[in-house]
Each structure stands twice: as structure tokens, then as C-alpha cells.
């Protein structure tokens, strides 16, 4: 097992720079997820770690060794591809044994390692099949098996679950996480699905347009997003963003939204009177109040999911999503009063989008 350090990594395709100096620390045994919208450079970065793309500038080191010029096969990494990239003309067994055969490992040892990996992934029954004869989830497992048999220093996953249906995706998510807990191998996992990122990662790296926007443990990124991009990208349903100005009265700061509605601000916010800000609040951080406290609002749409009730409300001249853990039987058009939980409010600078509290 090994750590991976990425220092000032840049990548250009011709005159287009797609990565603008990225620094990421991937600690030993960690499961790090690179997440971001398509085109943010996360897959390119992963391929640079794998050695499938050259590094235009900067350094990538694995286990303390700079690998910029090291060919892929000497980097001691294994990769799981989005389309699995199983060799269609080889049986499952041979797909898994291929790298070991190339490395001239003794036949007995190959057999032992393939069967061991197959047992871990419940592939025992399938070793004699061709990839065509497998379901999506089984192919996914074979792709992981092919990586496991090599016992590499680092596992790289390139959107491995995006070709699976929703149910299987959740199941495989758990399997991959379990596998990591068992093997404790350093893993770098690329996805555009923030739920995958949240649920699997020890550390999330949020990327946009070739830059790292924020890196940290999932819940820390969720609780303290450093800018509006991370705030809206992480979390589903997304954080509500209300534009307005700070109003300081009697030493207490509040937000004055476009339509004049006043919303409570957290005491920690560093904001001047009149400063334009973006007021962020997650859907679960509204309290329903019956009395005169809170803000007047009107129900627009109710989306019950069983476990939770998502209510879209008209508030402060716009729409906000409000999530209740308990069941409510609101009717569209029904007036309700909502009380934002002040200490959960995220305050961002309207211009730069940076966090202010």
C-alpha cells in the first residue's frame, strides 16, 4: 500500500489546458473520491496517475517515488474502467489471470490468486464464462477481480458504477466499500455522482474546470462548503441559495432578500451592513412553526418519498426546497410558516462566492 501525492499537476491537450495546477494528498489506505461535473478534469487526473496520460507539468508520486516518466506497468497500480474493458475473447478466469501471466507468475500461484479473488467477489461459479455471458454487475465484479489479483499499491476507479442501474449501483457501492475496508488498499475513485462520493469516501475532492474547489472528509465538505459551487454540488436535494443584502440592526445581522423578507443570520458571519451576499440553507434546516415566529411562505409542490417529505415553497420571492423527516399532508397553495435554523446558515460573498462564516 502506498500514498499518492499530486503537486501542481497540469495537463494540456494542445493549447487547451484542462488541469490548472492541482494539489491533492491521498494518504496511505485512504479511499479518496474525485467528484465534479463532467469536463472538470477528474478522469484526466486519474488517467495521469495511471500513466495513460502524460503529465504536462507538476509531479505525481506514488509511495514517495515520482512517477511522471514511469510507464504504467511499473507504477504498480490497477484500474477499473467505466466500461469495464474486459477482454471479450477471454474467459473470466483468463481476464483475471492476464496480468499475472504477463508478469510470468508461476501457474500454481496464478491459480491460487485468481481463485482467492474470485471467492472474495463471489465469482467462483463464473470463472468459465465469457464476459458476454455476464450481467452488468457481474462484469463489474470481474473488472474489480482483475484489479485485486495483482495486489497493487493503488486502486484507480474511473466511474465504475455509471453503467449500472440504480439498484445495482447502490449494492455495488456497498460492496466496493466493504472490499476497501477489508483490503485497506489506497484507492482513488472518480465519479460525477455526489451521493457516491459522500457515501464511499474517506476524503472528497471536489473539482471544477480543472481546479480543486475543496478537499476534506465528506461530512466536513457537506457542513462547511467553502464556496457556492461546492455548496450546491454536494447534497441532494441541493442547498437553497437566496440572494440579498446584509441588514445590521441593534447589533444583530439579518438577510434582507430581494422582496424585503428578513431572514436570521448566524452570529459568526463576517459581513458589513448592506453587503450583498448569498444566503445558503440546506432543505433539512427549516423548522415548521405554528406561531408568529419564522417567515410566511406558501406550499407550491409536495413530494412525499415515504421516509421524508420534500416540500417546494414560495419564500422570499423565490422557491425553496424544504425537507421534513416527518410526514405532512400539505395542500398546494396552503400557507405555512418556516423558521430557518440560524446556526446552520451558510453565508457566501455574492461576488466571489467564498464562504464568509
Amino acid at each position: 500500500m502506498a500514498s499518492v501525492e499530486i503537486r501542481g499537476a497540469r495537463k494540456s491537450f494542445g493549447s487547451t489546458e484542462v488541469l490548472h495546477g492541482v494539489d491533492i494528498d491521498i494518504p496511505n489506505e485512504a479511499f479518496v473520491v474525485l467528484v465534479g461535473p463532467s469536463g472538470c478534469g477528474k478522469s484526466t487526473l486519474l488517467r495521469m496517475i495511471a500513466g495513460l496520460e502524460e503529465i504536462t507539468a507538476g509531479e505525481i508520486s506514488i509511495d514517495g517515488r515520482v512517477v511522471n516518466l514511469v510507464p504504467p506497468k511499473e507504477r504498480d497500480i490497477a484500474m477499473v474502467f467505466q466500461n469495464y474493458a474486459l477482454y471479450p475473447h477471454m474467459k473470466v478466469y483468463d481476464n483475471m489471470a492476464f496480468s499475472l501471466k504477463l508478469a510470468k507468475v508461476a501457474n500454481g500461484e496464478i491459480d491460487r490468486r485468481v481463485r482467492e479473488a474470485a471467492a472474495v467477489l463471489n465469482l467462483d461459479e463464473l470463472l468459465d464464462r465469457y464476459p458476454r455471458q455476464l450481467s452488468g454487475g457481474q462484469r463489474q465484479r470481474v473488472a474489480m477481480g482483475r484489479a485485486i489479483v495483482r495486489d497493487p499499491q493503488v486502486f484507480l476507479f474511473d466511474e465504475p458504477l455509471s453503467n449500472l442501474d440504480a439498484k445495482l449501483r447502490v449494492q455495488m457501492r456497498t460492496e466496493i466499500k466493504e472490499l476497501h475496508q477489508r483490503l485497506r488498499s489506497t484507492s482513488v475513485y472518480v465519479t460525477h455522482d455526489q451521493i457516491e462520493a459522500m457515501t464511499m469516501a474517506d476524503k472528497i475532492v471536489v473539482m471544477r474546470d480543472g481546479n480543486v474547489e475543496q478537499a476534506g472528509p465528506p461530512l466536513e465538505v457537506y457542513d462547511r462548503p467553502e464556496n457556492t459551487f461546492v455548496a450546491t454540488f454536494i447534497g441532494s436535494p441541493a442547498m437553497n441559495m437566496i440572494e440579498g443584502r446584509v441588514q445590521v440592526k441593534n447589533g444583530a445581522a439579518r438577510l434582507q432578500a430581494g422582496d424585503g423578507t428578513l431572514l436570521p443570520m448566524p452570529p459568526t458571519a463576517q459581513a458589513r451592513d448592506g453587503q450583498p451576499i448569498i444566503y445558503g440553507l440546506r432543505p433539512e434546516h427549516f423548522a415548521l412553526t405554528g406561531d408568529s415566529a419564522g417567515v410566511q411562505s406558501k406550499v407550491a409542490v409536495v413530494e412525499p418519498t415515504g421516509a421524508e417529505t420534500l416540500v417546494v415553497c414560495d419564500l422570499a420571492g423565490g422557491e425553496v426546497q424544504v425537507l421534513f423527516r416527518e410526514r405532512h399532508h400539505f395542500k398546494p397553495g396552503q400557507p405555512i410558516r418556516l423558521d430557518p435554523v440560524a446556526q446552520e446558515v451558510h453565508v457566501f460573498d455574492a461576488e466571489s462566492g467564498r464562504r464568509l462564516n
Binding site: G51, H89, L102, A103, Y130
Partner: protein, 315 residues
């Protein structure tokens, strides 16, 4: 009563036609009829007639009588015929192997990211586009015993003192026509294999690279096995085209010198049309059939989908 029975019969007749038009077997046969007629007229009949002529002593301008296998008997004793069989095999085997190797190599080059890719692909197709007779004439000039451009260059470079007699010496002539056939046949092989190469997902090569495969191992373990079905088809066609080649030879050498480049097809033409012995020429042409059948069988088995190509039906 009479009126009733008449209309009853009518109803029965309509019923019978209707039923026939709803019969799948009948409809199937009906729809196949035009294609079958075309095939019978233009393929089966000439082939059958050719075989029939080979069993007669027909000459140009004179009907023949059935002579059984006499023509074949003559051929069996005929050293020129056996020479043409040897030539045909040499021509087919050597040209096909070289066309395959060079064609695959060219296809792999074109599959890379090259500058002016579209232009290069168009250039590669050139020999295939030019009418065979025209390219044969060009080669005839290139191989001319006095004015050959190859000889001229070699002499100018000081590598030779006299011109090479490309088409005058038996072995020179054999290699020369083979070279012309290779030049003409490569585009077909290269472009078809290129199409095959493009169906191989690049991620397979990436996976193999990470698995530690060298360039040669990627070719050996990924490219070649995944290309096999297409190679089987392309090479069958290539072998068929080469085996039955006529134009190149006829324009360049007419089978000479001393029959050294006579293929079965050119010999058949010479005996049947030039020499007028239709029966004998037809027998030579018919003698090609077993070899061609063997090539088709090869393709039939090559074309059969590999186990890995199909779904979960076989185990």
C-alpha cells in the same frame, strides 16, 4: 338449387385463393422467386453449362459431342496444365500472405493518429480504384525490358550495368506479376482490416497496458484475436480474387514466357477462346472449382461466430 350450388363453388374457389395467400410457406416461395430466377439464370446456368461443355469436345463454331472425362484425362497428362496449377498456387499463396502482412501493417499505421489521415486513407485506396487493365499497363511499362523505370534508376544509381529482363525470364516474370498483384490487392485488405481495428475499444488497450502488456503483447493478445473474424473474411475474399486473377496476367505477359506465368484462368481462356478448344478450356476452369470450394469452406468456418462473440446461449 342450381344457382345455389354455383355460387357455393365460387365461394369455395375464393376461399382457396385466400388461404394460399395467407400460407407462409407459399408466400415465402413466391417472394424468393425473383431472386431465385436471377441466380438460376446468371449463376447456376453458366456454371452448369460450363461444366457440361467440359464434358464435350466442343470447338468455337462447331457443336461438340459428349466425350465424358476425356478432356480431364488429357489435362492430367498435360505438363502445361500442371505448370499453371503450380503457378496459380505460388501466385495465390505468396501474394495473399504478403498482402495480409502488409495490409495489416498499413491498417495499423492508419489506425494511429497521423497527420493528413483522411488524405492518406484516400491515397491507400488508389490502387483499388484504378481499373486493373490500366494498372497492368503501367506495370507492363515499369517492367519493360528496355525502358523499365526500375532498371533506369538502378543504372543511374550505379547499382547495375544492364537492364533487368523482368518479364522475359521465367522466375523474374513470376515475381514481377506477384508484385503487381500485391500492389493491387493491398488496399482491399488494409481498408477492411482498418474497419475491423476501429471496432476494438481503446480501453482494452489501456487495460492491457496497465496489466503490463508490451506493444507486441497487446498486438498478440488483443488486436489479433479480436480481429480474427474479419481476417477470415478478408483473406477468403483475397484468396478467391487472387486465385481467379486474369486481367493482370493477360495484359502483362499473356502467360509467358514459356507459360511461366500462366494461371489456370489465363490458360483456360487461351485454350478455349484463343485456341478454340472450348471443351478443354472449360475443363481447366472446372478444375478450379474444388480449390475455390475449399477456400469458401475455410471462410464458412472462419465466419462462424466465436464463442466469445455470442450471448449466454452456449457454455
Amino acid at each position: 338449387m342450381a344457382v345455389l350450388s354455383a355460387s357455393g363453388r365460387e365461394v369455395q374457389q375464393v376461399d382457396w385463393r385466400k388461404r394460399l395467400l395467407h400460407n407462409r410457406t407459399f408466400l415465402g416461395l413466391l417472394f424468393m422467386l425473383p431472386a431465385a430466377a436471377l441466380l438460376l439464370t446468371f449463376l447456376t446456368f453458366p456454371l452448369g453449362y460450363g461444366v457440361w461443355i467440359s464434358l464435350t469436345d466442343e470447338k468455337v463454331g462447331r457443336g461438340g459431342a459428349f466425350v465424358g472425362l476425356e478432356n480431364y484425362g488429357w489435362l492430367f497428362e498435360d505438363s502445361v496444365f500442371w505448370l499453371s496449377v503450380f503457378n496459380t498456387f505460388l501466385y495465390t499463396v505468396v501474394a495473399s500472405i504478403i498482402k495480409f502482412v502488409l495490409g495489416l501493417w498499413l491498417a495499423m499505421l492508419l489506425n494511429h493518429h497521423l497527420p493528413f489521415k483522411a488524405f492518406l486513407r484516400a491515397i491507400v485506396l488508389m490502387p483499388f480504384i484504378v481499373p486493373t487493365v490500366l494498372s497492368a499497363l503501367a506495370f507492363w511499362w515499369i517492367y519493360d525490358s528496355q525502358d523499365s523505370v526500375i532498371s533506369w534508376i538502378l543504372i543511374e544509381l550505379g547499382l547495375m550495368d544492364e537492364t533487368i529482363d523482368f518479364l522475359g525470364d521465367p522466375w523474374n516474370a513470376r515475381w514481377s506479376v506477384i508484385a503487381a498483384n500485391i500492389w493491387r490487392g493491398i488496399p482491399f485488405v488494409a481498408i477492411t482490416l482498418l474497419a475491423g481495428l476501429q471496432t476494438i475499444s481503446p480501453s482494452l488497450y489501456e487495460a492491457a497496458t496497465i496489466d503490463g502488456a508490451s506493444e507486441w503483447q497487446r498486438f498478440r493478445h488483443i488486436t489479433l484475436p479480436l480481429l480474427t473474424p474479419i481476417i477470415a473474411v478478408v483473406m477468403t475474399f483475397s484468396v478467391l480474387f487472387t486465385f481467379t486473377d486474369f486481367q493482370l496476367i493477360w495484359v502483362m505477359t499473356r502467360g509467358g514466357p514459356i507459360n511461366a506465368t500462366h494461371l489456370m484462368a489465363t490458360l483456360s481462356y487461351q485454350r478455349a477462346i484463343v485456341g478454340g478448344s472450348l471443351g478443354e478450356g472449360a475443363a481447366i476452369a472446372t478444375a478450379m472449382i474444388p480449390f475455390l470450394l475449399a477456400a469458401i469452406l475455410f471462410s464458412y468456418f472462419g465466419l462462424q461466430r466465436r464463442k466469445w462473440q455470442q450471448g449466454g446461449r452456449d457454455d
